[in-house]
């Protein structure tokens, strides 16, 4: 104890004109959990990539356990006992867990022995840290929480003493996140040093010993977690005071806009994911669907928005049926006033290679406003994009920039602006703030409330229980494809958590 596991001294890194890291100094004591917070683009990930040898610093020194260490490649980092769990998992999806774990650490040219060794070592790690994983499972068939566990096991298998986790809970459910934190605490007790990069302040408060704040490439402060508050950290991150609570008045629900009756949806394997679900959303209210990821919420909104075929059941939009078991398609539904912000903005919501203005009309590109004869009216599209950029404070304000070059929060704003500005009667929103930073979350929440107050029906799906609780007027909880309860916004986290875990179901069965 006492000695620093990692010391960073005067680290600088530029990408072209962007000074991503500016004179960073940081000391991380051994055997602690150290949080690094900052908005997207503040330079956290760059700094950690330098530590892991993915990038090299332009200048500065890294000391590991007091020894000046040159880290040129990931191999150097691994040799220095540094392991990393990346935000986007570095796993080969069609490989088994074992194959992923030994990749790069095979030891010898033939696989047989290394697989046997990995199997027994995995067994030990599982027992020691409570990291249960089926070693022969194929990665793409595992839930994200387990995939992340594989990433942690990968690092431990390589003998990591210092573990860096980049936005580890971005893809996790509350229960999965809690499990992760238990694992991290256990790792800390075993003397490992953990660096946690996140922009979720609650997590920082819950688990870290110390916290450093980054803003615009510089390290602005380091605090002992015990002696700071969420408000102080948020202000340090954003550089201004941030409203963390959502302020909203009482809902004023009107007529039923969207009615779902006895909907059944199966996934591509034929497993029933949505099982006889019925609910309705009225004008002027936000209905939140809470649930641990993988309990059918995704399939539910895909079916309602026409992306996935339902097996049976009916959905009524403004009293008229949507052919969810047959020909419903997103284009038709858009015309009828149902807008959809998909959960996965990278794969479903946006074409990352397109310019911002192209994405800002995607799906509405056959609307007469954007057409000149049978050609696209480029000027109209760009002007439209510019007004959305202004209205939603999308940064950088450049409608010709490739969408991939925007940060996650700004990409999300592009999708939200596109769907909300079409003035739909019903808005379905999946994970509106996943991977979005504090300032942008505040903005997105305000917009959703504003939609509601204009008398729109909003259906919200989120794995962030906090978000569901602070935005929703009614909360519907899904477990194993069924609706297991409905609560008001005043329901406690514990009560909802029990519903989400299916506890009442179990008790009823007994």
């Amino acid at each position: 104890m006492g000695q620093a596991a990692i010391e960073l001294i005067g680290i600088n890194k530029s990408f072209g004109a962007v000074h991503a890291n500016r004179d960073i100094n940081l000391e991380i004591p051994r055997g602690t959990i150290h949080g690094i917070v900052g908005e997207n683009g503040a330079g956290k990930s760059t700094l950690m990539s330098i530590l892991y040898g993915f990038y090299q610093a332009d200048s500065g020194e890294i000391r590991v356990n007091g020894q000046p260490t040159t880290i040129r490649t990931s191999n150097d980092a691994i040799a220095a006992g540094i392991g990393m769990v990346h935000q986007h998992f570095m796993l080969v999806e069609n490989f088994s867990v074992l194959e992923n774990i030994i990749l790069g650490a095979e030891g010898e040219a033939l696989l047989k022995k290394s697989i046997a060794k990995a199997r027994s070592e995995l067994d030990r790690l599982e027992r020691e840290y409570g990291l249960e994983v089926d070693p022969d499972a194929i990665i793409e068939e595992l839930p994200v929480g387990i995939q992340q566990r594989v990433e942690i096991l990968k690092a431990l298998y390589r003998g990591a003493e210092i573990l860096i986790l980049d936005e580890p809970t971005g893809v996790l459910t509350p229960a999965e996140a809690d499990h992760l934190f238990r694992i991290l605490k256990q790792l800390k007790e075993q003397g490992k040093t953990i660096v946690l990069i996140t922009h979720k302040l609650r997590e920082i408060m819950a688990i870290t010993d110390n916290v450093s704040v980054m803003r615009q490439g510089t390290m602005v402060a380091t605090r002992q977690t015990k002696q700071t508050t969420v408000e102080e950290l948020a202000e340090l991150m954003v550089g201004r005071r941030v409203l963390l609570r959502v302020e909203k008045g009482a809902a004023n629900p009107g007529g039923v806009k969207l009615a779902v009756n006895n909907l059944v949806v199966r996934d591509q394997r034929g497993v029933t994911m949505v099982d006889d679900v019925s609910f309705e959303v009225r004008a002027g209210e936000i209905v939140g669907i809470a649930g641990v990821a993988g309990n059918g919420q995704s399939e539910l909104i895909e079916a309602i928005s026409g992306i996935r075929r339902a097996v049976s059941g009916t959905v009524l939009l403004d009293g008229k049926p949507i052919d969810v078991t047959g020909t419903a398609d997103p284009g038709e539904l858009r015309d009828r006033g149902l807008a959809h912000v998909p959960e996965d903005r990278h794969h479903v919501g946006l074409v990352l290679a397109f310019e911002e203005n192209e994405n800002s009309i995607l799906g509405y590109h056959d609307d007469v406003r954007y057409l000149k004869g049978f050609l696209l009216d480029v000027d109209a599209i760009r002007n439209d994009a510019k007004s959305k950029i202004d209205g939603y404070d999308i940064r950088p304000p450049d409608c010709r920039l490739r969408t991939a070059n925007f940060s996650g929060g700004n990409q999300q704003k592009i999708v939200l602006a596109r769907e909300m500005e079409q003035d739909p009667g019903v808005l379905i929103v999946g994970q509106p703030t996943r991977g979005v930073d504090v300032g942008a979350i505040e903005f997105i929440h305000k917009r959703l409330i504003a939609m509601r107050d204009q008398g729109k029906a909003v259906l919200l799906i989120s794995v962030e229980l906090d978000e569901i609780r602070s935005l929703s007027d009614r909360i519907v909880v899904m477990f194993a494809g069924r609706i297991v309860g409905e609560r008001g916004p005043e329901a406690s986290e514990g009560e909802l958590g029990l519903l989400m875990a299916g506890v009442e179901q179990l008790e009823a069965a007994e």
Binding site: F15, Y52, F54, Y55, T73, S74, N75, A77, I78, M84, H86, M90, L91, V92, E93, N94, F95, E99, N100, I102, L103, G104, A105, E106, E108, A109, L110, L111, K112, S114, K154, A404
Partner: protein
């Protein structure tokens, strides 16, 4: 017995005709499994065929010819690697360029060196790979069925043909049982995972292309030094493309690749066999139709009879570390 003989002969030529396809297909498998699309199989086979025949006729040695075929083919594979791995160029463009360079340079050099209109001199007995009679083949020749199958069908092929079929289990073993194979499969799926595991993506992909070069060299040598007694202009005649089709058909798996190549070889053999022979009911089929049959079948099969063929996920995309 006549029909039996005809069947054996057709199967025998099936084997012969599928050898170059199989070698090229496995060559493509190494490359594409590592995430490098290789449309230049055709060109590499062609330069291999030319280099092999040229060296064999100059040095009067089949083995020097084979060595040369492999070396030159590797050199072309490395050019593809330099363009598409080191310089992250477009893999299709690089592959097409290699095909053009191969088609042109072989004829020019052939004419300049041998003055036979782009051909290489006809290879004599010791300069080609002659057929190998398997032990006991002559002894069992007269045993009905089994003996005939052994002596007529399995025996009597060249060294390269046996190597080609041996490469199927070897490739399977390399791919699924060795460290290199694990990494090779990984780099074609998710190079970032390989990179963060501390393995060089570049070096790994170059090694994959090295395997490709060796195999296309063998395929070329088979064409000019076994099937034919010398190099003829454009003698690959689209086999590199058929091999690519077979690779997709085989879903990038070695054993499937063998069956796919045997099927294409069989169609080829059938086309040759049935030329000019009147068929029952249909009558005489035009030669051109029979020759087109393998290609028609390729289109039909690829259009939907093979189920979903999922290529290696990182295929065709140069690996760039920075986002």
């Amino acid at each position: 017995m006549d029909i039996f003989n005809a069947v054996i002969q057709t199967l025998d030529s099936t084997l012969r005709l599928s050898v170059p396809l199989l070698l090229a297909c496995l060559a493509g498998l190494y490359s594409e499994r590592s995430g490098i699309f290789d449309i230049g199989l055709e060109g590499k086979m062609l330069v291999g065929a030319f280099a092999g025949a040229a060296a064999a006729s100059v040095f009067h040695s089949a083995f020097i010819g084979l060595g040369m075929a492999i070396l030159i083919s590797i050199a072309f594979a490395m050019i593809h690697g330099f363009a598409s791995i080191t310089h992250r160029g477009n893999q299709i463009v690089s592959g097409v360029a290699i095909n053009f360079i191969a088609a042109g340079s072989t004829v020019i050099l052939g004419q300049a060196w041998f003055h036979q209109g782009g051909r290489t001199p006809a290879l004599s007995e010791g300069e080609r790979f002659s057929s190998i009679t398997l032990p006991g083949a002559n002894a069992v020749k007269d045993v009905p069925v089994i003996g005939q199958l052994y002596s007529e069908l399995l025996s009597g092929h060249s060294l390269i043909a046996y190597i080609a079929f041996a490469m199927v289990p070897i490739t399977w073993w390399v791919l699924y049982r060795t460290r290199f194979g694990l990494r090779l499969r990984a780099v074609g799926e998710n190079p970032a995972a390989v990179d963060t595991a501390g393995i060089s993506v570049t070096w790994l992909r170059y090694r994959a292309l090295l395997c490709t070069g060796v195999l296309t060299g063998l395929a070329g040598a088979y064409l000019s030094m076994t099937q034919n007694g010398g190099f003829v202009k454009d003698m690959t005649a689209g086999k590199g493309y058929i091999a690519l089709a077979a690779l997709i058909f085989a879903k990038w798996k070695p054993v499937n690749a063998m069956f796919a190549c045997l099927l294409f070889g069989f169609l080829d053999a059938l086309a040759i066999r049935l030329q000019g022979t009147p068929l029952p009911i249909i009558g005489k089929v035009p030669v051109q139709f029979m020759q087109a049959l393998p290609y028609i079948l390729t289109v039909v099969l690829l259009a939907g009879f093979i189920g979903k063929a999922i290529p290696p996920r990182a295929g065709g995309v140069p690996y760039v570390k920075e986002r």
